[in-house]
Assembly symmetry: C2
Homo-oligomer: 188 residues x 2
DNA sequence: ATTTAAACTAAGCAATTGCTTAGATATTGC
DNA sequence: GCAATATCTAAGCAATTGCTTAGTTTAAAT
């Protein structure tokens, strides 16, 4: 009884996500989204409500991509600490696009919006961080010598370290990042 | 032969710096700067050229404040590793304003502007990071058992860790940050 | 006191922001 | 074929962006 959409929402959201990932939230305008997603502003607003709506869906898309290309591998591994270390190395590759290091979209967003981030956005972020942390805990528990207190501390340590890696990858060279990762996992 | 300025550039720049620190570069408009600095746009542009000019001076101001409240203490100390650890704890206090964790302005800027940061801004940033790193190296050298290779690696490690602390302080609680710092220095 | 020039106020510039809407177009059920 | 309706294009909205400029005020040198 009506016309068909000429685009697939999941596909255009991936384009949007890439743009937000490269530029950040504020620096990405609806006109830029229009071009990158290949659809008109009318379509953007009718599909996603507003700019924030596009961003929320982009975060979901990012999580899906990260899960597929990064997190599933960690989840499957039974290599404990070494699996997490590999995750750190994998993350650098994951966040690099040709010569540009984009960092982690979640970390970028926390850093950009901080406490003044919208509630909905903040929920997505905390949600994602919690998942990763639980996964770290799961891998740390493979070492049965660690007490739950130690595991908690080390999981916190690793979470902050990962954020450092995200920011640092934008300005430090591979050698510096390698030094960081190697030292991070020395005593775990 | 002419009228006197009704403001002191160093004073109004400190206000601008606080604003950039809280909000980031893009999210800070010239109208906001006008209000915060307490001077008219004409004065802003005649004193600092353009928005970027205000920002560059703000970075310099930040460095001065950091030196005074943070870096000098580290420089004076002869406590080696422990002095650096104390620097990490001091940084958290330094970057907190009432309940808001603003992170490090330098780290915030790298994260926001990344590779597309203006050359002049990038110079200021690299410059500052290099200073801190050299200071870390100086303190690490107080332990004469460390080879220069180890010291290089550990300095890189600490630099990235510090950036992690900056971002993480925006969303993690004190306990998580403490776990991070304590574990960070276990590796040294 | 007069001249001179820098510093002020405040209005205004074009460009861009997020978002909306009027009207044309296409796809469906009948 | 026709009517119904969701989707498209493209123009336009008020508000905000970084920056400028015309005109007034102030203070020092003569």
């Amino acid at each position: 009884m009506a016309r068909k959409k000429e685009y697939i929402e999941e596909e255009v959201i991936e384009k949007a996500m890439e743009l937000f990932w490269r530029n950040g939230y504020e620096a990405t305008s609806v006109r830029m989204l229009e071009k990158e997603m290949g659809i008109n502003q009318f379509s953007i607003y009718s599909s996603f409500g507003n700019k924030k709506g596009v961003f929320i869906k982009s975060l979901t898309c990012y999580k899906g991509k990260a899960k597929l290309e990064l997190i599933n591998k960690l989840q499957k591994s039974s290599d404990g600490i070494n699996a997490i270390k590999q995750y750190f190395y994998d993350f650098i590759k994951f966040s690099r696009e040709s010569r540009l290091n984009k960092g982690c979209l979640i970390t970028n967003t926390v850093n950009e919006l901080g406490e003044k981030a919208d509630q909905e956005i903040m929920t997505e972020i905390v949600n994602f961080a919690t998942n990763v942390k639980h996964l770290f805990i799961e891998k740390l528990e493979l070492n049965d010598k660690k007490t739950s207190q130690i595991i908690k501390e080390q999981a916190n340590y690793l979470m902050v370290s990962l954020q450092g890696l995200s920011v640092a990858s934008k300005m430090f060279d591979q050698e510096q990042l390698d030094d960081f990762i190697e030292n991070t996992f020395k005593n775990l």
